[in-house]
Amino acid sequence: MTVLVIVVPLVGAVVLLGLGRLLPRRVSDGLAAAAVVATCCLAVALLHRTGAGRVVAWMGGWRANGTHGVGIPLVADQAGAGLVVIAAVLTCAALVYGWRYFESVEGHYQVLILLFLAGMAGFALSGDLFDMFVFFELMGAVAYALTGYKIEDPGAVQGGLNFGVINSLGAYLTLVGIGLLYARTGQLGLAPIGAALRGHGADPLVLAGFVCTITGFLVKAALVPFHFWLADAHAVAPAPVCVLFSGIMVPLGLYGALRVYVVGFGGVLGAGDVRRTFLALGVATALVGAVMCLAQRNLKRMLAYSTIGHVGLFVMAAFLLTPDGLAGAAVYVAAHAGVKAGLFLTTGMLLNRYGTVDEHDLHGRARGTGFRVAFLAGAFGLAGLPPFGPGLGKALSEDALGAAGYGWSSAVFVLVSALTAGAVLRAALRVTFGVGPHPSHARRTGETSGAEEQEVDVPLRRVPVTMAAPAGVLIAAGMAAGMVPWFARAASRAAARFLDAGGYLAQVLHAAPARPVPASPHAFWTAGGVALGLVSAVLATGVALAAVHPAAVPRGLRRAAPALRPGFQVLRRAHSGHVGDYVAWLLLGVVVLAVGLIPALTW
């Protein structure tokens, strides 16, 4: 029954593929929505079952005999099942948003969305490394197509190409890693590989296998320096597709890397070395995302860099590899998914109503209450304002990092949240309130403008409820995640289960019965977390006001600005939109990752 979560969207896709050209638009919309709603119910049922323990389902009726069986298992724990639920909910929002108005010929968009959901569900649940790779390629293929979907937009096809080439190269590197691991262990399943590597030394083959295998997943997760494709893809993909990318596809890359480490390499590569390397990469990612975020005038590109910034924070918390850190990252990811998805849908509504997503061109044009509430809620949510969801995730992550001896990282969290939320708030003030002097329309060299092709056949005079409702519901859900203690407790139980590699191996290899894990009793707001959340919200407001009224900034701060400009220009020119540059950074990133993990070698 577990496999139905993957098969139901596939069946829906194949039915729509065959009948798409015969059915009227409403029927194909309805069929796709029915398939997604069914998947959502199945995913929630699966999540409920994982509360009692991991669910292991062998495909094809093959069972493992010790470590030398054949067959592919699907292994669902709370983390994997939870991600499938988020994927299904976001896909539902994307389909509702695209109802009737989204330009879709012969049901192509609905089929691609359903295949994307199946790919994501399979990736989250698979217990076999090569199977993860194949689901990863399914996700990727559909993502490239959805990114380039608006074929009249020159940026869209370029963004799709950049995305496609870099992601594919990362995936091929993952396959190299799988080949190396197969040479060493003779196995393809995650659990048999973990069992075979455990207790032996970490020699360069194991290190190369680890680095190459997770590179593809880290490209998807947009870790620096693999992150360049994300801004390009988000700037040009349709808004509902950006929802899926930022909300669930990027976190799935992080999930894949974590799962491979915890189950496969937890017994052979020391957690301390892995933690230090990823902490450094996480800080770099967070800072790059936050700084680039402020420089964007294309609203979707700005939200994309905000995602990169937050991914850096997720990596810092998750790769602590402690239950508290992972729980904080889980809450942060879920709440961020809701808020960021809602912001992307709001931006899509701006595009379909006013014909542009350029912050300068939209100055003062979208003064409706709905837009104001959505942007303000999104901005303060991302800033980490208590008692909202992203703020709880941020607070839990800061506590976990502080407890592990990395108290300075709270400063990074506060800074990055303030900068990214300040950029969104600046956009809110300019676009929905018309605050500040009207900025120039002229596009400076090296900037990406917000000119974009609309997603609907004719510009909308009023925003339909099928577009507004998903945005509102998602933002509300993301914010509410911080106000219910149950959610944080569930996240900490999921984190404890995720890190229990011994239990995973026993259940998959030896069919041991499932065991419950205890929850951390303190997983909720603390005084320190509330204080830091308020600080970053206040800073975000300051950043936004300074950006909108530069004359009001104190002279001392204004004099500091020219000193930072050369460094900033170098960073900006590095994001060139040229696929060859991205490949160069990808190769360099693999080297950096390997060099960072050299201390983990024990041979």
């Binding site: 937009d153 096809v157 496609g164 190269l169 190396l180 197969y182 964007q296 990406t448 900006r572 040229h578």
Partner: protein, 115 residues
Amino acid sequence: MTYLAYAVAGWLFLAGSLGIARSRHLVQAIVALSIAQSGTYVLLLGVGFQRHAAAPVFTADMTIRSAVVDPVVQAMTLTDIVVSATITALLAALAVQAAKLHGTADPDDLRTLQG
């Protein structure tokens, strides 16, 4: 000669990556990507090779104890080839549209996404 297959695999992957970086035409970049992937085929098949072993197809004169090469990597390579061929087609479709819209197929001249 024991490392020749692996060295060729590594060389193909890196040559393909370098090819993407220095390409002057989108189709050249896509073909270089295919070359990078061919490296993975060679690596997989090299890992599964056994000297003096037959192909993993059992004819009438073979028994279950006959030595065959590793069929698992061959199945993986088959999956890999299908996946990459179709994704190459997808990227080629994107390249066709990009060349039409930008008027050029040189990656150096595609300037819509900067900063």
